[in-house]
């Protein structure tokens, strides 16, 4: 779960990382009041969970109440990259002497946290690594040994930092690492970490993405994940416990695995257009597939549906019952082609056929898509 900037900034502040004076508002009046307390100029930042927010017009500096009114009026209720702006972070404008970067992620290949620091803050770190590789340094952390201040100082020394800045910046990195471990983050990042004219530091952005698998044991009050999903179909998917990704085509898909679902989309996409990705994971029941059918049928202008499931960990015969019950209760006439292989496959085919579902018994998903193509053609 990616946290909003203001949520991450609160966590950073509680750990003792210096962050700007700030507040969160939902109205222009609220913004005016807050900016008066903070003092102009202020930075207005739309709280939307999408990268490249600044370039898309989601970050503005207001030097006067008039400018602030104009910007908040425009931002609130508007969309940034398709996401509605409901909240704005009003923040003290920092005086920038220089901009640094510090970030911690999980390095999937080594299986260790990796700490990255750079003197090229304020830009995409991947860009900095390409243009000025000598100004980006990193260190992997042994999960058992942890990360200690001397390692942070060594890292920063190699970037040319010295004296008071070396110590204060090392302190920020060590605290960021504590947050990374304590909250089981996938990403913890400050970009930029601003160096003020007096050599003090200020984290003017805050990125924190928490591992979804660790949310049940989180040490902060976790916001409702459903609230952060804007697409109603994707929200319904999360509610019923499946992964649904909305696409702009018209061929629906239910699959029992992530890889199988992605591959089925790849094959559909050769001649038709996938309407969605839907993956049940290993929890198929009759009820779950009934709900998946409800979800699939919420998509407008659907031309057909592919069901592609394997009976490994999943009782696919149970799933088939849910699909057929939905078809019968709602008199569904949408063409549906299913491939269901593995444990109890023959039983599953019989159930599907009893609901008018076309069953393909070959192993290759190409065969399902071929059958569907014969039934409904290329479409628009």
């Amino acid at each position: 779960m990616r946290l909003h900037e203001h949520e991450a900034a609160d966590i950073f502040e509680n750990m003792g990382i210096p962050v700007p004076r700030r507040g969160i508002v939902e109205t222009t009046d609220g913004a005016l009041l807050l900016a008066g307390e903070i003092g102009y100029p202020v930075v207005l930042k739309a709280q939307v969970l999408v990268g490249g927010r600044g370039l898309a017009g989601g970050i503005k500096t207001a030097s006067t109440p008039e400018e602030l009114e104009e910007f908040t009026g425009n931002l609130l209720g508007d969309e940034i990259k398709g996401l509605p702006v409901r909240k704005i972070l009003v923040s003290q404008k920092a005086e920038i002497s220089r901009e640094l970067y510090v970030g911690i992620t999980v390095d999937g290949f080594s299986g260790k946290p990796v700490i990255v620091a750079s003197t090229e803050g304020g830009v995409q770190i991947e860009e900095a690594a390409r243009h000025a590789p000598d100004k980006v340094v990193s260190v992997h952390v042994d999960p058992a040994f942890g990360f200690h201040p001397y390692q942070a100082r060594t890292l920063l020394k190699s970037l040319g930092l010295s004296q008071r800045l070396l110590i204060s910046c090392a302190d920020v990195i060590v605290k960021l690492f504590k947050i990374f471990i304590m909250h089981e983050a996938l990403i913890a990042e400050i970009n930029p970490l601003v160096v003020l004219p007096n050599e003090g530091l200020l984290a003017v952005d805050a990125v924190l993405e928490i591992d979804d698998s660790a949310l049940s044991r989180a040490r902060f009050s976790v916001p409702d994940p459903l609230d952060r999903i804007e697409n109603p179909l994707e929200r319904k998917g999360k509610e019923i416990g499946v992964t649904y990704v909305d696409l702009d085509g018209d061929i629906g898909l239910i699959s029992s695995g992530a890889g199988l679902g992605m591959a089925t989309m790849d094959i559909i996409g050769q001649r038709m257009r996938p309407a969605n990705f839907l993956e049940t994971g290993g929890g198929i029941t009759e009820e779950l597939l009934y709900k998946c059918m409800e979800l699939i049928m919420m998509k407008v202008d659907l031309r057909a549906l592919i069901i592609n499931v394997y009976g490994g960990i999943n009782p696919i015969h149970e799933g088939a019952k849910g699909v057929v019950r939905y078809i019968k209760e709602h008199n569904i006439e949408l063409p549906i082609v299913a491939k269901a292989l593995g444990n109890r496959q023959e039983e599953t085919w019989e159930i599907f056929r009893s609901g008018g579902v076309h069953v393909v018994t070959e192993a290759a998903t190409e065969a399902v898509v071929e059958r569907l193509f014969e039934l409904v053609g290329e479409g628009k």
Binding site: V50, G51, V106, G108, F109, G111, K112, P113, Q124, E126, D142, P143, A144, I181, E184, L186, D211, D212, S213, A214, S216, R217, T243, V245, L247, S255, S256, G257, A258, G259, L260, G261, M262, A263, M265, D266, I267, G269, Q270, P274, F277, E279, G281, G282, Y310, G311, G312, I313, L341, G342, N343, Q345, E362, A363, A364, T365, E366
Partner: protein, 290 residues
Amino acid sequence: MSIFLDETTRILVQGITGKIGRVQTHWMQEYNTPIVGGVTPGKGGTTVEGVPVFDSVAEAVEETGANASVFFVPAPFVLDAFYETVDAGVRFIVVVPEHIPVHDVMKMRTYALERDVLALGPTTPGILVPGKGKMGIMPASLFAPGRLGIISRSGTLSYEFAGILSEANVGQSAVVGMGADPVVLTNLLDILRLFEEDDETDGVVIVGEVGGEQEEKAAEYIADSIKKPVAAYIAGQYSPQGKRMGHAGAIVRGSAGTVGGKCKALEEAGSTILTTPIHVAEWAIKNNLK
């Protein structure tokens, strides 16, 4: 002798008394897998599918001589169970469950590597050696004995590839689910090395997907060290940027982890790129990999 499973393998099922543990123990036994015991703390002294259940891994190893283990342990308890299993001397562990916190997996991986333990997963269907046995949840009817190895990040796609190959009379030496999480216990290139060294394997199929850099790192390794023919399919060309596609590790971040980038790296390393799964059969037959 096959890699992973051979005549000396004696397998424990951890979490055997749970619903999935019971059902999957039944299917593994149906496939003549040498299951010698089960472990569920607090359920010692009972039996499941005729298999004795122990309270601890150490007791189970002591009583049965087990040297391998497959996990159906609920995600929050996996870290503890993993340490226990390694400490009991088990040297091959298959971690089937999904949704294990990544920070736990990082600890498990480090612990296993330092003690020379071979572990697969998390979020893996396990491993199946056709005709010899299986550890995990793979549906056995789709597999056939032969000389082609499969390594897959996705469970369901490992079944798809095995099914397509078996239908075309191309058998498999071993089918390995490497796991679909952002961090896995054994990386793709290390599993490739095992197949390269296996004298019962003539070629390898990599079934990858978007996200991470396992395939890119494997490509470097293939270029340097792999002599057997390799074909690769990478799923997810229609995955929108920034969306997790069901697997915790299947996410395109910016320009990293795309199908295009992975295919390019693997192709430059000399591997054959399969645009969709069905092409694996003609590739195998053309390269005489049966």
